[in-house]
Subunit: 328 residues, 2 copies
């Protein structure tokens, strides 16, 4: 069976993974906005460290209401655009459509589940909600052209309303195989929530500090004060993840290993100097993904009884910078 | 008796208060650097909200070794220049010379006492160390000219090596009278250490956040996130002051009242928009007074067992910004 995918948001993430899925044989429908005319005429081009490829013909759409019914909707908008989803989703949701968010941050799956259970569509059951964590450096460099700079794997897991590990379902495995057919390295995990915390251990220090300190990853690692601050933020994320694991699964040990902190710091130190996605958003005057990366995990940490004052302080600073930024 | 004062550092603070002391009848010797020639020829001019005045003739010096023996040495350098003191002080210290620091921050009196007890001069006793907290908005606007914009009082207290309240000694009272004769409003306090914590309740939030957030006091108060962060920093200073009071004087209630937080926030909200001294230093590429305003109180708080994570985080950010600044 050929699965039919919709890509909501054909930026770097949506464009790259959508193109890979199509390359692997899936039927992929791309939602486009400013790039629509270009992509209708020229398709998509991926300039990749692992080999360039082009898709001269793609299914391009300006609206989801021109799309056929979809098996898997991949959400690759910025989280700051998620208010568009209640308009975008209904035309393409069938009774068995799954939602897969490739967005950064925390709590997005729960928001999707919450919306889906309250929307106006009569459906026999709530849709399956999946999350994907993209380990990739990629940028859209011109209309229809995405430059893939480094990494490129994706980690897939399933959301459960009770925040328990969901295991790897046949659907998740099938989607994983579609990505693999498109030459994407895939990891499938039982425990999406713990994987989200793990990714936040990097995103919370380095996304925020890159904006407040106006620095690349290399500059941050070279300054002992910023490095110490990054480490303190990681300690607080680890503590938050631990309290959150204990809250929903007491005694089950849904914890991140403390040695991850040194591992991530060392890894970041040896990475090529990198401008984080939040810094790129800030420099380009776009709204920051503050609630996904800071607000939601902060509230989850506090609900679980974790002390996260350094995260809270950074969140307030970023909120002030975001609201003073020119996009307002 | 006419007391003889030396002013080390004839900037806004040293120039203003030194000129007031001379106006009141004291003999005042000013240490000058780049402004020396101008001041020798033209004296000092104070453009003040409370009435301009000029001192056409002042005792101006390039070095302390041209000064006569001094009764009270007023230290009005930036704290970042305190490494100069071991050269500046010995020529003017007699057996009864007192040191009065008008500098910002915390722990400076203890550093002076420590230096004085270890220096090479044979003295019958350690010098009296006094501290003055200047409540003033003033800037040096050109050589020998200081603009006094608002406020102008000074709070005087005496340091004790054991950090107990020192009371108001006859010397302190006499110095206070010299300031009053120069039309300065003076408050004399028993407990200099508690007064230092009180002033930090304003300086710790607003000096640091003005630099990191690139904002005036009015801009900070207008943003709800920065306001919340400022309030959290005040809560931590209050907690630090309380633990510090309990450490050195258990059960004596050397505490700041919690309602000071709302009082200071409200006061700041109604102040004319103000660029803090640390922001001015940063904008002009000068080193920041980080150890006096952040490092020393942070270490005192930690030694007293207070939890001050938000102060610590701000300190690390400022250290990184200071070390990236062009003065390096």
């Amino acid at each position: 069976m050929v699965r039919r995918y919709a890509i909501l948001g054909t930026g770097a993430i949506g464009g790259y993974y959508g193109a890979c899925l199509q390359r692997g044989g899936a039927e992929v429908h791309f939602l486009l906005h400013s790039d629509y005319d270009h992509v209708v005429n020229h398709g998509l081009v991926i300039e990749s460290v692992t080999g360039d490829f082009a898709l001269p013909k793609v299914y391009a759409h300006r609206h989801t209401n021109t799309m056929p019914p979809i098996d898997v909707v991949i959400i690759a908008l910025k989280t700051t655009q998620n208010a568009l989803l209640p308009q975008l989703l209904p035309p393409i949701l069938g009774p068995e459509t799954a939602l897969l968010t490739l967005q950064n941050g925390f709590g997005i799956e729960a928001e999707l589940a919450d919306w889906a259970s309250h929307d106006q569509l009569a459906r026999p059951q709530n849709p399956t909600i999946l999350g994907g964590l993209c380990m990739i450096c990629a940028n859209k460099v011109s209309p229809g052209t995405i430059r893939h700079l480094d990494y490129g794997s994706v980690l897939l897991g399933q959301h459960r309303a009770d925040h328990q590990p969901a295991g790897v379902s046949p659907l998740l495995r099938a989607i994983g195989q579609d990505f693999q057919a498109g030459q994407v390295t895939v990891e499938m995990v039982d425990d999406l929530r713990l994987a989200r915390w793990r990714k936040l251990m990097w995103n919370i220090p380095f996304n925020g500090l890159s904006v407040v300190m106006n620095a690349t990853t290399a500059e941050m690692m070279a300054d002992p004060s910023i490095r110490q601050l990054a480490e303190q933020l990681m300690v607080e994320v680890l503590e938050a993840a631990q309290c959150d694991g204990d809250r929903f699964s007491p005694g089950q040990g849904r914890h991140l290993p403390p040695e991850l902190i040194v591992h991530m710091l060392t890894h970041t130190e040896h990475m090529a100097p990198y401008r984080t996605s939040m810094k790129i958003d800030f420099d380009q005057g776009r709204p920051l993904e503050l609630e996904a990366i800071y607000g939601n995990p902060l509230r989850a940490a506090q609900a679980a009884g974790a002390a996260v004052p350094t995260i809270e302080s950074l969140y307030h600073q970023l909120k002030a910078m975001d609201s003073a930024s020119k996009h307002q």
